[in-house]
Amino acid sequence: MEKLSQIIIKLKWIIVTSVLALTIFFGYQTQFLTINSDILSSLPDDDPAASLYKEIGTQFGGNDMGMIVLESDNVFKTEILQHIKQITDSLRYTDGVSTVTSLTNILDIKSSEWGIEIGKLVDEYNLPNKQSQLDSLKNYVFSKEMYKGAIVSEDGTATVVMFTLLPDADKQAVAKMIKSKVENLNLPETLYFGGLPMMMNDISDLILSDIVWLLPIVFVIIALILLLSFKSFRGVLLPLLTAGIAVIWTIGIMVVTGYELTIISNIIPVVLLALGSAYTIHVLNSINQSKEKDRKQALIKALTYIIIPVILAAVTTAIGFVSFVFGAYLTMIKDFGIFTAVGTLIALLLSIFFVPALISAFSMYRKKIETDQPEKENILTHKILQPLVTLLFKHPKYSLTAWGILLLLSIGGMFFIKTSVNMADYFKKDNPTRVSEDVMQKKFGGSLPVFVVFEGDMQSPEVLKMMIKTEHFMKEDPNIDMTQSVADLVEQMNDAMGEGKMIPDDKAKIEQLWFLLDGQDVMTQLVSEDLDKGIIQSRFASVETKNIDEFTSKMNKFIQENKSENIKLELTGMPSVYVKLNNSLIQSQYSSLIIAIIMVLLIVGLMLRSISKGVYATIPIIATILILFGFMGITGIPLDIATVLVGSIALGIGIDYSIHIITGFNFHLKETGDAEKAIEKTILSSGNAVIINVLSVAAGFLVLIFSQIVPLQNFGILVAISMFGSGIGALTLLPVILILTNRKRKIVANNHKQ
């Protein structure tokens, strides 16, 4: 290690210039960073539910359904119809839009005594303008199941314009374009924009403004904490500089390797700022404490001492992040894990190579080397750590019991943990997007698309009848308001031919009814060109996990019972995806935590050359994770795509505190030979650093409270809590365990002596 340190100092100029060059290169790349807020693109391709859902999108003109709701006191007015037509037209002529369905262009099949009228519900070139026409339109719309509550709300005060996007369209750009086009129409009615494409667009706006607002705040807060603890310009500059460079490199690497910023990875800068500064802090701390007179020698010595612990701290943290790669379902969570780990390692390398090189190159040594002010007593040691030590030694068992009670409470709380995968929950309650989703849900049966995919001969009576049967079954669920399929159209056509609203038994009849349907816009959304696949389209009104679960399991049972050689049925859509996501949240939480715990245990055990000490070190962090989940259960903070990250991150960062305490204990034990003294010394000396570290990391993450995305707010709170938990655990629970095990050993040893 000493050799390495010497080499670092020798090559200082090369290091400094290459860091500078790389930073310029990656900094240049960052401008090409794009944001992808599409949660669907993050579904893994090897998952059948997800890939079917994506496939539907390409085959049936887009699964990305957007909705614009127009609300007024009564939509059956000429002027409002005119406005709906305006919206419809402006959507129709937007690039990237696949289909548009609205009151003014929806296909209508009317049968009358004299024949069939296939046409539009409303003649868009001759909108009804007499009260009698409007009244009869209203009556007709409310008489037909396929319109009532589907295209016009049941109270007649709102109507919806639905659109789907082309599969290869840039969804966010199209959504943005649609929104601005429609807003520019300056319509007097209240408009709501909803559906996934719209939500994604809004989320990505929020992501951008989050980054712009939050990063500087994190910067300032960490700078303040650094200033307070180091009281020097260097102490503020170097940690922030390395963290900042780590952020730039990480983002640059993301761009170069072709990754996009997602709703998750947008917190990478915040995480890296909060964490990346830590390693430099350790290095600086070590340099500050060195008492060598020769500056260069002091630097080398300090470096030699700190390299191993810093590597260990960074590697355990990186493991916490890497554990997502193995456990996560969403690719964006994996990506987050990889790049945060990369960023952590970059911060590590910078703190070991760049910081000493920079100090040496620019002679950024401290102006005066502080000569022994023996055990500079500060408020922290005096008011907190000293009493703490006294308490721990007096009542180790009480302390343990207190922890026991806390943990029991937490375990109890864990049973109340909820999960949330609903996109709308990501917005604050008063956010317009959230409000829109509520309106969609109340008036139009939600915006979550549901599809049942049928494989078979779409013109066979058997398949079409099964479609009708399935639709009836679906509608029994209170959360399904409308369904649409080609079977409905065939039934209506059959009715129009005067043979009743049913699927004809004769295939020849179906084929001939098809003749009229062929070429209608809606057909490409319902059946494949080869007529071997068709879908039932529907929407699900609830976003409650319970309702979604119930519906999907009921549907899957129905599908199992009804599929046959000639008909293959499959359920897909957002509810299915949500169920998958939901299960995966819990699963990935387990697997990434277990992987992280085992890895950390192994590494810490190896480093300390003692498995039992490895176990002791992990106890506070496991306790912290229990408290974390207990807290989530009690406060109702749900497990979602952001909060699912907290456990492993807490483990990766929190373990550092335990490592500090245990290594300190080992060091002082060797020095004094007395375990109790060693513990006291360790708490008094390392306690300071731990507390400062907890405060700075927690403060950095707490900034996320100001995020506009709810899961990120929760994420910030939870990481902060974990930091406190693991810090306090390392300072109380761990020493108590050490005290008790040492007392036991003493007793055993004494017994042996006798």
């Binding site: 002529y93 001939q512 003749f515 209608q520 490409t524």
Partner: protein, 243 residues
Amino acid sequence: MKIQTVVLTALIVAGSMFSANAQDASTILKKMDDVMYSPKDMTGKNKIILIDKNGKQEIREATIQQKGTDKRIFRFTAPASQSGIAVLSLPNDVMYLYLPAFGKERRIATSAKNQNFAGTDFSYDDMESVLFSVKYTPKLVKTEGNVYVLELTPIGGKSDYSKVIVRVNKTNYYPESMEYYDKGNNKIKEARYTFKKIGNYWNAAEIEMTDLKKNHKTKMQMSDVKYDTGLTDDDFTVRKLKQ
């Protein structure tokens, strides 16, 4: 054909060539209408080839009878599942459909003229034999090689198109191509015409319509065309439809 007729035709053609520069857009369009809609009646076979974006073809066949510009019977002969289906179009948007599997005819009204006809890339609007000079206001954009380029604007705004660009053959006044623009001013469809002279008339032997948005193509090919065989109104009745 008598020599006199040939000479006469040649004279007329030559004469119109000389006066070409002086012609205004509406004269050109009227002449195009004359070329397209002058036969008293027509019978023939129609082959409809649908080509999807992967190049896959689907073929339908039908016989056509037409009288004037506003009476027409389309009778499908292939594929088997559609064989016998017949569509009778009468003036004023009156249409009857006969489905042999039901043994019944029904009057159908398509208030939505922008919908495609029976899976083709032709909308009901495109299929209508209403004179172009009635539906559109023309503007001569330029003359180019052997064509006049006309820009047609729909009259009355009841169309899905914002404009149609037609290239009219300078010599014979049949359209060579039409480009359809939507209201966002995007070119959405394109038709290419191949005309052949049959008897006294120019016949659209093939019309190839491409839907540029869907990347889907329809070719309509005419064969066995006979003109002026003396069809009467009685050939265009519901009773005839069912035969």
